[in-house]
Amino acid sequence: MMTIPPRLRPLPFPLLLSGALLFLFALQVAPLRAQDERVVAGLSQNRITISTGFDGSEILVFGAVRRESPPPADSPLQVIISVSGPAQPVTVRRKEKRLGIWVNTDAVEIGSAPSFYAVASSAPFGEALSEAEDLRYRVSIPRAIGSIEVPDEVSDPASFTEALIRIRSRSGLYQTNPGTVHLSEETLFETSVELPSNLTEGDYRIRIFLTRNGRVIDAYETSIAVRKVGLERFLYSLAHERPLLYGLMSLAIAIIAGWGASAAFRLIKS
């Protein structure tokens, strides 16, 4: 932890950052010091609990830009905020017409795709971040999706990634929200990110980028823990740690439910 630049210390959630990321961070941020514009950020909560009644949530990301000298007048400041859920491997299959029938033919294995990904910006995305910087920081949704394994017979791997984005966007898991980061006086910013009800457990990574002319001048990262609690936690752990017991319990409940209904109906009739 000795690599922590002193400027990061007063930030609200530095403990959650991993050492490796911090190292990269220091490398990336170091040459930009001359710009003298830095992010100070906070979250409305540092933990999201999934209980039985969970029906989606919202996190508020807010912060300010700290600077030693007046801001440069040549280009406007932009803020980009991304929230990404734990990454998982995904298989994307495609249907094709064979002998007059639609069947799954080609499949592409995507090594790791975030289970949730939202990116919000204060301006249209292309304006706020250049292509080169996007490639470097992996900010936009297509860049955030990991490498893909393409079988020889697939000639158009890009359409599989597009399909993944399209399907996940439809269920609110992938979101691109340009213009939803509210920036006032080039100093204060805030945005809220909608988390859908089909949320996966894990650590959600939140990144904030300050850009000028499409170039990243400062970046900040923190994370928020999404955890099942109470009954949800208990059942999930039981299913994974004592699967046989869990299976037998499911069967016992089924038998009791079946018998209960039968007995109840007999009572009603008599």
């Binding site: 995904v90 495609r94 069947v103 699967p243 046989l244 439910a257 209904a261 007999r266």
Partner: protein
């Protein structure tokens, strides 16, 4: 009322699940089918991951078939002996089916083959049943009463290892029921369904069992097949969602009781024609899925599948 399901990792409306369970439960009690072939696509539709839907559905069927069997047992419309024989055949068949499935998978295009055989097989069963039961209804209308039950003496009766199935009123060799069990088991394993709606027509037409006894007997053997499936999924894939299962069960067990009562009020040929219509409906849906261009050509699955 929204409930977050711990394994499916999605929040769903509890009343919607109760309703779905109830509807499928009625069909289960009436026809002696598990209802998985109907429930699983509905669960996909509301966003439950396919692996969780299939595993949890098996658990729910245990409950609704148990509820249905109890109702049938009181009316003495379960042939326990026949059920056991079919079950033994079914387990052997399921084992063979899994081997066959893996073999087909290794040579590729298993998806196409399975779907095609499914459609062809079901449409034959469905139309034969429909025509037969329609004739039976016309005949009983014309003569004003039930036709005399005449049992044809076929090669089936010439086979050895004869056994008395008292409840079904049959004295036949155990070979045909074991074979029926095996073939249904094979088909069920390949197609990934419980096999109730293949088993029911086979019992009526191949074994010549009375329709009323068929429903209870089919439910009896479904309990064991689905209980086995539930345990297998719970221990290997961790995909049984107990919260989802409970909601579906509450609806399902009540539905099964109602379904059994409806089934007993109907005449045997009416029951058969309704089942035939249902099978044809499922075939039509499957055929449309294969022939029409899907709205989304791509689908997502977990990694490593």
């Amino acid at each position: 009322m929204q409930i977050y399901l711990p394994i499916a990792e999605i929040s769903v409306n509890a009343f919607l699940l109760l309703g779905l369970g109830g509807m499928v439960g009625i069909l289960s009690g009436m026809f002696g089918v598990g209802g998985g072939f109907l429930m699983t696509p509905l669960l996909f539709f509301i966003g439950i991951p396919p692996a969780v839907a299939v595993a949890t559905e098996a658990n729910q069927i245990v409950a609704s078939s148990f509820s249905g069997v109890l109702a049938h047992l009181r009316r003495k419309t379960v042939d326990l002996k026949m059920g056991t024989v079919l079950l033994i055949g079914g387990l052997i068949g399921a084992f063979l089916g899994i081997q066959l499935f893996n073999f087909l998978k290794s040579i590729g295009q298993v998806d196409l083959l399975v779907r095609l055989s499914y459609v062809v097989f079901l449409s034959i069963i469905g139309s034969l049943m429909f025509v037969e039961s329609l004739r039976a209804i016309m005949r009983s209308k014309r003569s004003g009463g039930a036709p005399p039950r005449r049992r044809k003496h076929t090669w089936i009766h010439a086979l050895p290892f004869k056994m008395k199935f008292r409840t079904s009123g049959l004295y036949i060799s155990v070979i045909p029921p074991v074979l029926v069990g095996i073939s249904v088991g094979v088909l069920a394993a390949i197609m990934g369904v419980g096999g109730g709606f293949i088993m029911v027509p086979a019992m009526i037409y191949l074994l010549g069992m009375p329709t009323k006894v068929v429903v209870g007997t089919s439910l009896f053997q479904i309990i064991f097949v689905t209980a086995f499936t539930t345990l297998a999924h719970a221990t290997t894939n961790y995909t049984v969602d107990i919260a989802l299962a409970l909601l579906l069960m509450l609806g399902g067990v009540i539905g099964a009781q109602i379904g059994t009562r409806i089934g007993l009020k109907l005449k045997a040929e009416q029951l058969r024609i309704l089942l035939a219509l249902m099978v044809l409906g499922v075939v039509a849906k499957l055929a449309l899925d294969l022939l029409l261009m899907p709205a989304e050509l791509y689908s997502l699955g977990g990694g490593g599948e």
